[in-house]
Structures are given as C-alpha cells and as structure tokens.
Subunit: 137 residues, 2 copies
C-alpha cells in the first residue's frame, strides 16, 4: 500500500529531511482512515515509540500540512483533524457518534461553480455533509 520508499520519496520531494519521527507521523496518518487529531496520533505512536514528544507531533503535522502532504479537516469547534488522503474528496460527519467518513469526489460531479459571484478565483472547494450514519439509525 504505502511502502517505506514511497513515503521517503514523498517527504524528500518536498525538501523535508526524513527523520524517524516525521516518518512515523506521516506513515501513521497514511495507514489510517479515521481522520485523527494530533493527540490521537500521539497516543497511537507512543505505544511503539514512547519517546515522541508532543511538540514534535504538532510541528510535524504543521510541516506536512504546509507542504501539502496532508490535509486538515475542520468539522468541529476547536478540533483539528488530519488526513493523509489528499486526492479530492468530501467529508461526512455523523452528528450522533461523531464518526467521519469520506465522500467520493464524484458524488458531487453535478456541482459546478458557474454561478458564483464574478471576480472570485476559486482554488478549491469542499462539501461538508452532516447527518446520521447507518449505525446510529
């Protein structure tokens, strides 16, 4: 899936040094689909590498985000989640259990930006959907 060398190449392609910590954060995020927060990543990684500091997690995520390797997902007040899947897609959040699920980009292939106020240059857009998932229904 995401082999070691590919990950290393991704980091290098952005001019980032490949350190064990940064590698671990990025690799962890790549293999997850649950849109974790910084804290959740820290908890997960500390099971294997108990000497990973909070500051490093936060700095790594900041760096990965700035270089475009990971995406931020902002759905709840005060909660910043991360997603290493940077191919275009949208998000669904269950208002009941809080689960966050990807929505395929093509689900909104009918969405066009034609009628926006002229003068705006659109770089990107995303649809946020909220409701209840099947588990909660």
């Amino acid at each position: 899936m995401h082999d070691k060398n590919t990950i290393i190449q991704s980091l290098k392609s952005k001019g980032l040094r490949v350190t064990p910590q940064r590698f671990a954060v990025y690799a962890n995020l790549l293999q997850r689909t649950d849109h974790p927060t910084a804290e959740q990543i820290l908890l997960d990684l500390n099971q294997d590498v108990p000497t990973l500091s909070q500051a490093t997690i936060y700095l790594s995520l900041q760096t990965l985000h700035q270089t475009g390797l990971v995406r931020q997902v902002l759905l709840e007040e005060g909660v910043c989640r991360y997603d290493a899947n940077i191919s275009p897609h949208h998000h669904f959040r269950c208002l009941c259990c809080g689960k966050i699920e990807d929505i395929a980009w093509e689900s909104f292939s009918n969405l066009t930006l034609d009628k926006l106020r002229s003068g705006l240059k659109v770089d990107k857009y995303e649809v946020i959907v909220e409701g209840k998932c099947d588990n909660c229904l």
Copy 2:
C-alpha cells in the same frame, strides 16, 4: 432591519431570558456580515459597554448556537466564527486576505445528494470555497 422587538422575540421564542448582555451579543452579530470571532465581538462591544466579561460572551455565543439562533463557521484551524444569518448559504474564504464572504444557496442549486452512500441520513450540508477575492487579484 433587525428591530429591538424582533430580537427580543427571537430570544424568548427559544426560552432564553432577555438580558442586556445577551441582547447586545446577538444584536451585534445580527448587524454584522463579517463572521466575527468571540474576541472580535468582545472588542466591538467593549467600546460601548466596557463592563462585559469574556466569560459572558463565550457563554452567550454557546447558548445562541445551541438554540440555533446563530451558526458556527469553521474555516481556519483553531478559529471559531459566528454568523447570525441562519438562512441556508455557503461560505467563501480568501486565502490571501482572509475575508469571508457568503455564497448564496442558489449558487449550488445544481447540487444534489443522490449518489451518497446509502444508509446515511443527511441533516445539512455546506460548500466551503477557497481562493482569491477580487481585491487580492
């Protein structure tokens, strides 16, 4: 536009007591279109009523949000903005100057949810658009 009695009625209709502080917060938000943060509202109100505590602002906004009188706007990491315009609309954020602008709901009248994974019950959705505004171009 938003006359005093209408505001009072809105608050009462949600079972909220009408206090000067709560009224001031809601009225302030109603007359603004800039999607302010709690801090910005505090700064603005403190010019007239210097004895308005932070805690009250935060509590008021929380209350107004919970009762559905105001909407939260989450576009930037760690920044919670508020919007008293609760009629359906979307948001645009300029990546250059940070300005946040409303996008009319009808701009995406072509957006349908047909192809979403079955089993999801959709309560609401919003399109977040990012790019550059005309000022910044």
